[in-house]
Symmetry: D3
Subunit: 238 residues, 6 copies
C-alpha cells in the first residue's frame, strides 16, 4: 500500500482551471491533488537579443514558489536576491519542454513567457507546472490565431509531465510530498501528445535503477500523461 492510499498507477485528482487570472493572454490554475500552480502565458512582441532578426520566436519559462507554499516557510527568493539552483533547473526544464512541441518559426518574431508560480506544494510541482503551462500556452496561441496575428498554429502537439518512483520496491505514479520523501528513487518524464519522450530525469536516492526499473517507470508515466492529455483538452475546450 502506498502512503497516499492510491493504486500504484493512480494519478491524484487533476484539475485545470483555464482563465484563472484576467490580464495574461493565457492562464490556468493547475492542481495535481494538493499541488497547485498558477500558470500565465504572456505574449511579447519582441524576441531576446540572441534571436533578433532571425525570423523566429521564442518560448521561455520562469518558476517561483510562494514562501509559504510549503510545510515550513522558505525564504523569499526576491528578498534573498537570487534564485536557487533548484528554481533555475526547473524553469529551464519547463522552457525546453514547451519548445519541444512548438514550431518557433511559425510563432514569428514574438516571445511567449510562461510564469509558473506554486501556490501550494505537495510534490510534483514541476510536472504540474509543465502540464498546466501547455494549457496556458494553448489559450494564448489560440488568441493570436483568433486575432489574426498568427495564421498557422505553431503548436505541434500536447506536452505533459508526471513523476514516478519506487516506493518499497513498487513502481508508483505521481508521487505526493510524503511519497517523494520516502521514494528510493524517482524520476520525471515529459511526454508529447504523440507519445514521444522529450525529457527524462531519473535520480536514485538510496536505491539505484536498472533497465527493467526504468522501463516500468516509463510505462507508468505514459499512463499518467494519457490522463493529463485528456484533461488538458477538456480545459481548452477541444
Amino acid at each position: 500500500m502506498r502512503p497516499s492510499g492510491r493504486a500504484p498507477d493512480q494519478m491524484r485528482a487533476l484539475q485545470f482551471e483555464p482563465g484563472f487570472t484576467r490580464h495574461a493572454e493565457g492562464s490556468c490554475l493547475v492542481s495535481f491533488g494538493d499541488t497547485r500552480v498558477l500558470v500565465t502565458a504572456s505574449v511579447e512582441e519582441k524576441v531576446p537579443p540572441f534571436l533578433r532578426g532571425k525570423g523566429q520566436g521564442w518560448v521561455t519559462a520562469e518558476y517561483g514558489m510562494l514562501p509559504r507554499a510549503t510545510h515550513t516557510r522558505g525564504n523569499r527568493e526576491a528578498a534573498k536576491g537570487k534564485q536557487s539552483g533548484r528554481t533555475q533547473e526547473i524553469q529551464r526544464l519547463i522552457g525546453r519542454s514547451l519548445r519541444a512541441v512548438v514550431d518557433l518559426r511559425k510563432l514569428g518574431e514574438r516571445q511567449i513567457v510562461v510564469d509558473c508560480d506554486v501556490i501550494q506544494a505537495d510534490g510534483g510541482t514541476r510536472t504540474a507546472a509543465i502540464s498546466g503551462a501547455w494549457v496556458a500556452l494553448r489559450i494564448a496561441v489560440d488568441k493570436l490565431l483568433a486575432g489574426g496575428q498568427l495564421s498557422e498554429d505553431p503548436i505541434r502537439t500536447q506536452v505533459a509531465a508526471v513523476s514516478c518512483g519506487f516506493h518499497d520496491g513498487q513502481a508508483v505514479l505521481d508521487l505526493d510530498y510524503d511519497e517523494d520523501s520516502q521514494a528510493g528513487s524517482d524520476g520525471n518524464f515529459v511526454l508529447t501528445g504523440d507519445s514521444a519522450i522529450v525529457e527524462a530525469q531519473l535520480t536514485a536516492e538510496g536505491e539505484t535503477f536498472d533497465e527493467e526499473g526504468l522501463l516500468r517507470l516509463l510505462r507508468l508515466a505514459r499512463m499518467g500523461c494519457t490522463e493529463i492529455f485528456r484533461e488538458q483538452l477538456k480545459a481548452v475546450g477541444k
Copy 2:
C-alpha cells in the same frame, strides 16, 4: 460619474476566502474587485536577532507581485535579484499596520511572518493586502490560542486599509487601476477597529490637497473600513 460606474462612496465587491492554502497557520485570499491578494501568516518559534531575549514577539510582512498580475508583464524580482523600492515601501507599511494592533509582549518570543502575494492587480493592492493580512493573522493567532501556546489574545482590535482620491474634483473611495491612473491626488488610510488612524499617506499628483480635501478623504476611508471590518469578522467566523 467615476470611471468604474460606482457611487463615490462605494467599495468594490469585497471577498475574503479564509484557508485558501493549507500549510500556513493562517491564510486568506482577499479580493477588492479584480484585485486579488493571497495572504499567509506563518508562525515561527523564534524572533529576529534584535529582539532575542527581550521577552516579546514580532510581526513582519513581505509583499510580492506575480509577474503577470498586471496588465503588462513585469520582471520577476527574484530574477532581477532585488526588490524594488515600491515593494519594500509596501511591505514596511503592512508590517507597521499589523504591529499597531498587536501587543507584542503577549505574543511571546515568536514571530509571525505575513506574506502578501498579489495574484491579480487592479489598484489598491496594498490596502487589500493589509485588510486580508488581518484575517490571516487572526486565524493564525486563534490557532495558537486554541492550541494553548498563547493564553491571552495579543490582537487588540481589527485593522483595515482603503484608498481614496480625487477624480475630477470629486472624492471617491477604493480606486481601481483606471481611476488611480487618472486621480489628481490620492491616499491610503489604515484604520483600526476602534476608529483610530494608524497610517495615512497622501500624495498629490497634478492636483494638491488642502485640509478640507484631506478630511473628505478621511471620511470616505472611515466608511470603507467599516465595511471591510464587517467582512473580516464574517471571514473569521465572529
Copy 3:
C-alpha cells in the same frame, strides 16, 4: 516641556549654505539644527529610457547617509551591496516632492538628479533634504535660465517639508532625534509655496490619530514651512 527645550511650534535653527560644493550645477548644505544634509543638483542632457522622445524632462533624487552620520555607526550601503527599504522610500519621496512643483515639459529633454547625502543626523533628515533640495534645484535651474538653455522657468513654486508629532499629548514641530524616539505618533508634511499639501505621511506608534490631531499637526507644519520658505528665498537671493 519638550525634550529640546523649544516651544511646541518652534523650529530648530535653519541654515542653507548655497554653493557648498563647486562641481554641481546647484548645491546646498542644509541644517535643521544638528541635522546636516549636503544636496547637489546635477543637470544631465538626457532623460531616462521611459521618457525618451516624449518632449519632457525629469527630476529624480537619491538619498544616502554617511556611515557615521548617526550616533552609532551604520553599515555602508555600498559595502552591503544594497540600499535599505528606508533609503529607497525616502528618495522616492524626495523625487515626488520636487516633481510636484516642476513643469517637466518646460524643463525640456533633460534630467536633474538631486543627491541628498546626510553628513550628520539628528532627526528629520528627509524633511531637511527636501527643503534643501529645492534650493539646489533652484540654483541649477537659474543657471540653465541664465545660460539660455531654458527660456521659461519650469519651477512653479517652492516646496518644503517638516515633521510634526505628539510628545506627551502635545503637538510639536520639527522633532529632533530624541523627540522622535519618544513621540507617540508623528508625520511628515510636504507643502508648496502656495500652501498646498503635496505629501503627507503619518504613522502612529503607540498612540493613534484622529482628525483633530491630524489637523493640529498640519497647522504646525504650515507654520514651520512658512519659515523654511523664507530662508530658502534668502539662500537663493530672492
Copy 4:
C-alpha cells in the same frame, strides 16, 4: 560516419592525471579528448549547518568554467556576480552523483568539497567532471584512511558518467562539442561500479525518444563507463 571519425561506441582518449595540484587532499586533471577538467577534493573538519550534530558527513561539489575554456570567451561568473542556471544544475548533479556512492555516516562529521573547474571544453564537461571527481575523492579519502582519521572506507563503489546521443539516427557514445551541437537528442548517464544507474537525464532536441532509443543509449553508456572505471582504478593505483 560520426563527425569525430570515431566508431559509434568509441570513447575519446581518456586520461586521469592524479595529484595535478599539490595543496588539495585529492586532485586530478581529467581529459575526455580535448575536454579537460581540473578536480580537487578538499577535506573540511566541519559540516554544513543543516547537518551539525547529526553524526554524519557531507560531500558537495562546485563547478566552474574558465572564461576562455570555450570557443568564444564567456563572461566570468565572478565578475557577473552570479552563477548561471547551467552551472548550478551541473554542480548539483555532480554532488548527488558522488553522494550516491558514499556512506555519509562512515565519513564522520566532516565535509569534502569537490571543485570541478573546466580548463578546456569540448563537450561532456559534466561527465568528465563526475568521472574525475571520483578519482580526487578516492585520493582524499585514502589520505584520511592512511592518516587514521577514518577507520572504515566510506566509499562503497566507483561512479562515472558519460554522454550518449543520436547522430543522424545512429546512437553514439561520448559526444564532443560538434557532435553534441548536431545531435537530435542526447543524454547523460551516471553509473556505479556495480552497474546501477544513479542518474539519467535525457533531452530531445529536434528528435524525440522512445523506449528502444533510451535502451540503446543506456547500453552504450554502460560500455563507456566500463572503460572509465578501468582508467579510474589505474589512476588511483588499484
Copy 5:
C-alpha cells in the same frame, strides 16, 4: 610652469577641521586645495571574527565618494550594488597605512573604523584621506586615553600621504585633477612621522620611470609630508 601655477615643490592649501561632525569619536574635514574629504573614526568594542580572542585590536578604513563630488556625476555605488575596484583598492591602502603606525596590541580588543568620504574631488583624494584619517584617529584615541579605556598610547607616530608626478619632464608635488590627467607618470607615497616609507605606488602612463626619477619623486614627497605633519599636529592641538 605647472598648470596650477604652483612651484614644483609647492603643496596646495592644506586645511584640517577637527570635530567637523559630532557623533564620531574622532572626525576631521581635510582639504588639499579643492579636494575635500570628511573623515570619521568610530570606536567599536569588538574585533572582526578573525581576531577574536587574540588580545589585539584592529584599524580598518572604508572609502566613498559622493556622486557629484566629481566634475560629472558618477553613479552611486550603493545604487549600483557594488563598490568599484578603485574604491576597494583605496580603502585597503588607507587601512594598511594607518595600521603601519598603530600598535594593535596596545589598542586592546576593539576596532576603529575610519570612514573617508569625498565631498569634493580635485585630485589626490586618497592622499588627503590618509592624512585626514590620522587626525580623526588621533582624536578618537585621545578620547580613549582621556576616558581611561586605554592606558598606553597605541599610535607610534604620524602618517601622511602625498602624490607626486612628472609633468612635462618636471617632478611636481601634490597634483590636482588637471595635472594628474596630464602627468606622464605619477605615484603616491605614504610616509611616517619618523621619515620612513610605508607605502609607495608608482604608475607610468605614457612615460616610464627610472631610479633617478623615483628618487626625485620621493624627495618631493618627503617635503610635502613634512608640511602635512605640521598641520596635523596643529589640528590635534599638539
Copy 6:
C-alpha cells in the same frame, strides 16, 4: 639563509608553456616555482563603450584563483557573488602593465582580454600572471599579424614583473608564500624590456623602507626581470 634555501638574488624555476589551451588566440601556463597561472588572451573584434569610434583598441585583464589553489580552500568568488578587493586590485594592475607596452592605436578597434587564472598558488601570483600574460598576448598578436588583421606590431617591448622584499634584513628576490608571510616589507615591480619601471608597489609590514632599501629591491627586480625576459622570448620562439 632564506627559507627557500635559494640565494638572495635567485629566482624560482621559471617555466612558460605556450599554447596550453587550444581555443584562445594566445595561451600560456606560467610557473614561478610552485605558483602556476593559466593565462589566455582572447581577441574580440569590438571595444568597450567608452572607446567606440575612437580608432583605437584596448587591452584588459581579469584575474581569478581556483578555490583550492591555496593551502586551505577559499570561497569561490562566483558563488559569493562578488570579486574581492584583492582580485580587483590585481586585475587592474595586470591590465595597466600590459597597456604600458602596447600601442593601442596600432591595435585597431579590437580588444584583447587576458584571463589569468591561478591553478596553484605559492606567492607571487600577480607577478607570474603579468609575466605570463605578455607571452599569451604576444602569441595572440602574432596570430593577428600572420593573418593580416594587423599590419604593424602594436607591442613595443616586453613586460615582466617580480616581487622582492626584506627577509631578516636581507633583500631577497621572488618571494614564495612562506617568505612572503615572514617578510618585513616587500614590493612588486613591473619592468619593460627596455629597462623602464612601469609600476612599483611597495608595502611595509613591520619594517619600513628608506631610499637605500628601495633601490636595493629595485636592483634585484631588474635581475629577476632580465631572466624572465629571456624565458619569455624562448617561449614565443624568438
